[in-house]
Amino acid sequence: MALPLPAFVAKRRADWDALQALLGRQRSGALKLEELRTLDTLYRRAAADLAHTQTFYPGTDAHRFLNQLCGQAYAAIYQPPRERWPAVRDFFRRDFPRTLRREKGFVGASAALFCLGLLLGALVVLWEPRGAELLVPAGVRQYVAHGRMWTDDILSVAPPNSVASGIATNNLTVTILTFAMGMLFGLGTLYMLVNNGVHIGAVGAHCIREGMARGFFDFISAHGPVELSIIVIAGGAGLMVGQALIDPGELPRGQALALRGREAVKLVLGCAPFLAFIGVVEGYVSPGSMFPTWVKAGLGLSLGALFWGYLLRAGRAEADGAAVPADSAS
């Protein structure tokens, strides 16, 4: 016959309290090596007590308490290795470019969708000038009608709702949304890619029609290659998520999603520092006439070449020998 519950609690409580105190110290990172051994012993005892309460005192507060205590101790003892600086370095040197190369089908599809949008937008405006009224923001049209670039004003006196600063603030939002809307079965990503393509294509075509082609390319050349690449990569990640939802393969949908989502988010996280860097370029170099066009174009092309060179070459030597992880579905 089991002990009465209060007697059991009174007998074992000292160990539980000690375990709780040790867990608190573990959280604040003040644990010594000997204490770690004690923690392990106490956790095993608490687990045994939990099994005991599950049998003899189910549904009592003591049961719930032990459940929670063991849950916390379990989380502390069996925690996965921490991500530290070497892991971050390793991620950018090998993991990120490799993941991108492995998932190049998705990135390619994303690029194709974006180009499709670009073509659509450009063709609509070139063939039917009134399409510009629909696709090009009114502010931009006003500036172009006056024969100026709307971005010229950033470094001088900016109007409060300057379109360019709007685009700059939108970069992050667009990238994140393009990826995250993949959760809507990939349809959101599809929409974001085509929509952005249409808009950029339409604005470009409108500028060309109005004889402002030089101004447009002057603005876009410095940051365009890298920035559009990043949006395309984020789109690829979003499409991966959508694919996992639509066709999870042999796994349950939830598991497939978690597995593929891990790969997909690597692509987005990898892009983050480049996005920040290109944001500075867009804010500093692109607008105004501080730098001549050929400098901007050269800078943009070389940045783009560097970016893609890194993506396609980095970590390649070891990658080809190593087996591709089995969890890549494509």
């Binding site: 519950l5 209060p6 599950q54 549904g59 929670q68 991500e83 900016a158 994140i176 999603l257 944001g279």
Partner: protein, 254 residues
């Protein structure tokens, strides 16, 4: 109080003991979000007031910002959108200040703490869960999934568990000395449910109305005491004697 039907996360440990962690529902999550959102809100209010104290011509300053300044501003706004949540969850073992206040915690599907990846993913998806307004998508997803997970949780393979404050003192509090009545012959052992019932009554007794306190106490004595005649009368003489008898009974001392 968790019952068998409320959502929970089952974890199989290498010690061959199954853990059952209660899952935080939509109410806890909304409250935690409100706390976090108001923290961020007040941060921006304070930042704004400090800024206006230092600079008189606010609009002029914004208009005169260089490209770098604008970029920094964007990064600041972004930080409240994403960095705040991710850093808090990574460094505070799955808790933002709001989650800490509500006693809920983000864990992986196997009960282990979240890492940078999981936290980054679930917070990147905040943007989608928020659509079209006020977390409508996330709320629908939480209502439809068994473990109340929003889209970001589904993608990252995480969920939120609840941590209750459970007081073990009620088991170990000794009855007031001297007041314990004489042992009543052959009394049976109480089941754990009866012990819980008695202890729950004792924990709440000081806050009850006197007549309710006496009535419930009498019913409990009749159920668990096995007393009759003058023994019962002696126990029921005063609330103090009654509760001290019940406490001793729960501790299996009589």
């Amino acid at each position: 109080m968790s019952t068998a039907s409320s959502p929970h996360l089952d974890v199989a440990t290498p010690e061959r003991v199954a853990l059952t962690l209660p899952v935080a529902g939509i109410g806890y999550r909304c409250l935690a979000w409100l706390v976090d959102a108001s923290l961020l809100f007040f941060f921006w209010i304070v930042a704004y007031f400090v800024f206006t104290l230092l600079v008189s011509d606010v609009l002029g300053v914004f208009q005169g910002l260089s490209g770098l300044g604008q970029t920094l501003l964007v990064v600041g706004v972004f930080a409240t959108q994403w960095l705040y949540w991710t850093l808090a969850e990574v460094f505070w073992h799955g808790q933002t200040p709001g989650k800490r206040a509500l006693g809920i915690r983000v864990v992986r599907m196997d009960g282990s703490p979240v890492g940078l990846y999981e936290s980054a993913v679930r917070n990147l998806c905040r943007a989608v869960d928020f659509l079209p307004a006020a977390y409508a998508t996330g709320c629908i997803s939480m209502l439809l999934t068994r473990q109340h997970r929003r889209l970001g949780d589904l993608l990252a393979g995480t969920l939120l568990v609840r941590e209750e404050r459970i007081d073990l003192d009620k088991y170990t509090t000794a009855p007031a000395p001297g007041a314990t009545p004489a042992a009543a012959g052959a009394s049976r052992a109480l089941t754990p449910e009866e012990v819980e019932l008695v202890l729950a009554f004792l924990a709440r007794a000081p806050g009850l109305q006197p007549d309710v306190r006496l009535r419930l106490g009498t019913r409990l004595v009749d159920r668990v005491g096995g007393l009759s005649g003058e023994e019962r009368e002696a126990v029921l003489a005063s609330p103090e004697r009654l509760e001290s008898f019940l406490r001793a009974r729960a501790r299996a001392e009589v």
